[in-house]
Amino acid sequence: MLKITPEELKVITRYIHEISGIHLDAGKKYLLETRLSSIAEELGCSNYMELYQKAKRDARRQIQQQIIDAISTNETLFFRDEGPFKLLQYKILPELIDARTPKSSFMKTPIRIWSAASSTGQELYSIAIVIRELVGNDISKFNFKLLGTDISDSAVAQASRGRYNKFEIERGLPRDKLNRYFTLRGGFWQVKDELRAMVHFRKLNLMLPFSGLGKFDIVFCRNVAIYFTMEDRKKLFNKIADILEPDGYLVIGSTESLTGICSRFKPKRHLRSIFYQLQ
């Protein structure tokens, strides 16, 4: 495995921050080596400086993307931490459905949900399952729009494909839900069309402006800001405040807090979970 020198470590971590916002400190030397050495060798680089230079020169940004794919960590559990999903099911969705149900039945107000770091899709599909479980066959009466974004091309591709191996799926997803929303196909579990049709995935770097995203009623931004610096976290949550509907909901990771990061949000409690709304 190609070893990284202290100088290279500085250059590479700065580059990774620049292209992805991911902040890696010097303690991540081993992570960088294990994740980047194969890319470097594959490209015929004899050290990481060469890899950096090649990536910078690559106009099609393929090397940059390979580096992002290698460095970003993917969450692979459905219903990871049940708190937020209970919150969604018993508090947020019922409130939003009440607020958004129109007087006339001709116009369906959309309820827009965004999973800001959707990884390989498990979070957004879990949200879709909660919605199906909650509204049942009345789904056609509503207009749910679910968007998942991630910085990794390969994660977005995998999420769109909706295909999971048994290790990725069996933990967190009870058997009845598994059989209801997935089909076993060639050793893999494939998301059924009814769920797949509810969601949409695309690539997005959270460090860049959120142009063209529109407004959201619910934003899930769990366990992603933790990879950023304090400064970048502030910018991120400020931008999220901009695209959240005035009565919208923000859900962050259960070990995270916005105290000292963004004063535009007010924490609220329901049962044992916390969500945020605009002041």
């Binding site: 960590t73 969450e75 390969s154 290790f167 995270e256 807090s257 105290t259």
Partner: protein
Amino acid sequence: MKQMRILVADDDPVIRRLLEKRLSENGYDVTVVSDGMEAARLVDRKRFDVVITDLVMPGDIGGIELLQVVKDRDIATEVIVITAYSSIDTAVDAMKKGAVDYLEKPINFEELFLRLDKIAQVRALIRNAGDLREAMDVTEASAAQTIQQLEITAGDLQLRLDQLRRILGRDDRPPEARIAEALGLLGREQG
């Protein structure tokens, strides 16, 4: 999941073509070579997820030797050996030296695909374990930071509360003056 990259080394052109066709039809990225030397050269230049090699090939590098070259290069590359005789001994020897599995000729493709699936799953699991470890690490560090921040905030609030309590509790002053001073303190903080 990423497309797996497979190198096939076999001196039998029929088997080579068959493996190339069936593997690429099934979505694998396949490279075929006809002897161990060429395979060893390629392995040195390029990374493969799996090497499928015949045990007996002409030249200095047979299946066992290639296996060693592959494992020296990258321990994570899996090797499946193909054996013409149903001689368990040679296959067992290969597995002792690090081959993940063996196949007997004629090749049963169902069996091969099943093994490749297993290899892909194990690789995905290893990557997932790495991701989880990293996520846990970052979460823990960040949670510690969050707790620190909250402690400081809670400390500040407690300080203000104590101040207010002191101001409001001063019996020697008229209530209006106490309230005015308390409101003044709150106002200063808000401003």
